[in-house]
Symmetry: C2
Amino acid sequence: MMLVKNAMEPLVAEVLNDNWQLINMPCKCEQCKNDVFALALNLIPPRYVSKANGYAYVKAQYFDKQMHANILVKIGEATRKVSEQPQCDNYTKEGVNA
Amino acid sequence: MMLVKNAMEPLVAEVLNDNWQLINMPCKCEQCKNDVFALALNLIPPRYVSKANGYAYVKAQYFDKQMHANILVKIGEATRKVSEQPQCDNYTKEGVNA
């Protein structure tokens, strides 16, 4: 089977986890966090690697202050989108069905 | 833990597997196939989803003849790149170290 991995996934996860407490959102449930994570990844060009050491290479080569800042900006954009329309049960159940 | 998935991964894998026998490359080992897979994914905007049914939604919504054609074009570009510089053991051991 084919095995590849987008090296941006663990990098974005790291930045998101490090900053999650500071992020201001109407809902901070796990689903909304996942939505921010997914949306941020859609805003960042992927860097798929096909080897076990590929992630370490990408992190060493590209994960500098500039990339950290870029990821934070994209997380901010994703946070705004999710905040405008939370898709989690806390909102969709009360908002749409109630 | 956060769980997200790029819905393009299984779609590109499907198109690559369906066409792998027809693709002309100097090396068709598993590593070269993974390299084509990873490079093709880097050429295609990601569509990360955060829910279990997200992949089915993306496939139903977007996987038409046009997307199939677009994916094939990107696989073609990736195939050319990997063919020019295969990174698998068959090539790097003989070429660089021999």
